[in-house]
Symmetry: C2
Subunit: 317 residues, 2 copies
Amino acid sequence: MSIPPVAVGLNAVVMAAGEDAPQVLVVPRGGEEPALPFGPFDPARHRTFEIGLREWVSEQAHFQLGYVEQLYTFGDRGREAPLADLPSSDEARIISIGYLALTPEAAELPSGGGEWHNWYHYFPWEDWRAGKPAILEGQIEPALRRWIDEAETEGRRAARRDRARSTFGLDGRAWNEERCLDRYELLYSSGLIAEAARDRKEAQGMPPVSRSMASDHRRIVATAISRLRGKIKYRPVVFELMPDTFTLSRLQQVVEGIVGFPLHKQNFRRALDRTGFVEGTGRMLARTGGRPAELFRYRREVLRDGQATGIAIPRSR
Amino acid sequence: MSIPPVAVGLNAVVMAAGEDAPQVLVVPRGGEEPALPFGPFDPARHRTFEIGLREWVSEQAHFQLGYVEQLYTFGDRGREAPLADLPSSDEARIISIGYLALTPEAAELPSGGGEWHNWYHYFPWEDWRAGKPAILEGQIEPALRRWIDEAETEGRRAARRDRARSTFGLDGRAWNEERCLDRYELLYSSGLIAEAARDRKEAQGMPPVSRSMASDHRRIVATAISRLRGKIKYRPVVFELMPDTFTLSRLQQVVEGIVGFPLHKQNFRRALDRTGFVEGTGRMLARTGGRPAELFRYRREVLRDGQATGIAIPRSR
DNA sequence: CCCTTTATGCTCAAAATGAGCATTTGTGAG
DNA sequence: CTCACAAATGCTCATTTTGAGCATAAAGGG
């Protein structure tokens, strides 16, 4: 029993908290769609995937990774158009292992390497912080209804309707921010995503509703967003995105950026307080535009003993 | 930029609810350690990993899979002793993609294929349903304390102590059932797991405290247990393990088997009721040894609309 | 010094949890 | 045919945890 060889690529979704929105690290490719930091896994050079990943990211984006976790391994044939500089999938299958990396401060990136891009330029329908995004009622929902009606049998129409309803919260269903990946995949299969037309080598049927990425990289980012939005609730991962000290308002801002909707300020603080995750430093941050805010610090120790849970996400209406 | 080839293996952790404890499907290998259903991923034959996986499982264990999700991709060099019939890792690196599969009824397995084994034969320290397992105080905790003291510097001792405390709930810390993988890895690195000695080709230092498995398969099972114990709380996955109709007591029994501790019966039911996941069928199951119990059915529809959360786990004291 | 802007504090009702006690309804022994 | 027993269900009550607002404090700019 011998195992046929396949090529393994490593992709990193590096995230940081930007000024107004979460950011993802991309590598521009002059004229072409931007890509995630990406590189082959070479078993001769790298004892582990993570080592290889860190090497590629620092080489391509001039950037050192901190917190890293494995996301998912993507390997379906036909899931992507291969990047130009890789062998096409007819010859050897390429599978890619996606990683999520979190890093504090979106600030200093040496030039010539990667760039920070706002998540929501790639996923505008995911940002509900200022209410329901106009793109949903304006473009996505009508297109989804058209896609539902296009199905051949009533059974298929019902299946499409159910899927669209539950992922996009149509017809009064609730919006579940964690289902970002499901939404991306639905938009892909209904042809609303530029990558879908590109992969099928068709003319694009829809005006681009958002920015696209190389290969299946946008799918990997959607996977990362779903994972992060879920994980933030049961593991204190937000703090990987914060600098050493921060105000509670800033922390809340970062969480809101991630989950994509506004939180109730007082309740957010009360719940945070109970977790014991943060402690005041006594120092204040002036020039907040109002009353100065105290600077807080993350207490890494609390992770060690007791149940490490995440932070509460009290939605505000 | 070309990608060096590696070999990809697919492993399935197939789980079912047994009479008294959850079971995992293993393939006996006459005399040697049992293995998970395992097979190479052949990109020429299989369009997706899942298709390949289902094929291997049905071939090796004579068994059709239902619910399947990807777990993790394992690829560290030296993480395992290779299976005898595979090329050794010096030549080509073998990475394995682990999958978790859930299936109702541990009952009918055609003979000659796989066997159902109780989880807790491989992880006896994880079963707290009848109180704290004796193996913890009897063997594991003393060995951990020895391992802590063996460290060379005080700093390392402190690090080991912290790690042991938080994973095994030493010194009054809480036991977190989701950290099954962390515990396995700690036992592995502290030499309490037979596989550790085997992989380093050492004589075994400890009397085997539990059964071992081929290669790194026990680590994969630990990953699956951790995942399932976490997921059960925020997604209604237990029902994948239940037959069409079941009593509430049986459902509770299955959940208790998974999380590894007893639940408060009334509160479990109250919380379950609120979710709307189950509905009574009106039919009763007699011969329960007491008052007959009503048979319930899982309402798959609730998943479609609204927030699909998991079921509550009200620990009983 | 008043007004605007943030940061923090506090209160109250509603909902969810944690723990028990109480009833119902089969089975099986005497 | 009764009665004790074993489960399955039903209900109650004190605590906690949420969800929503209202109120107060402290800078900075006319």
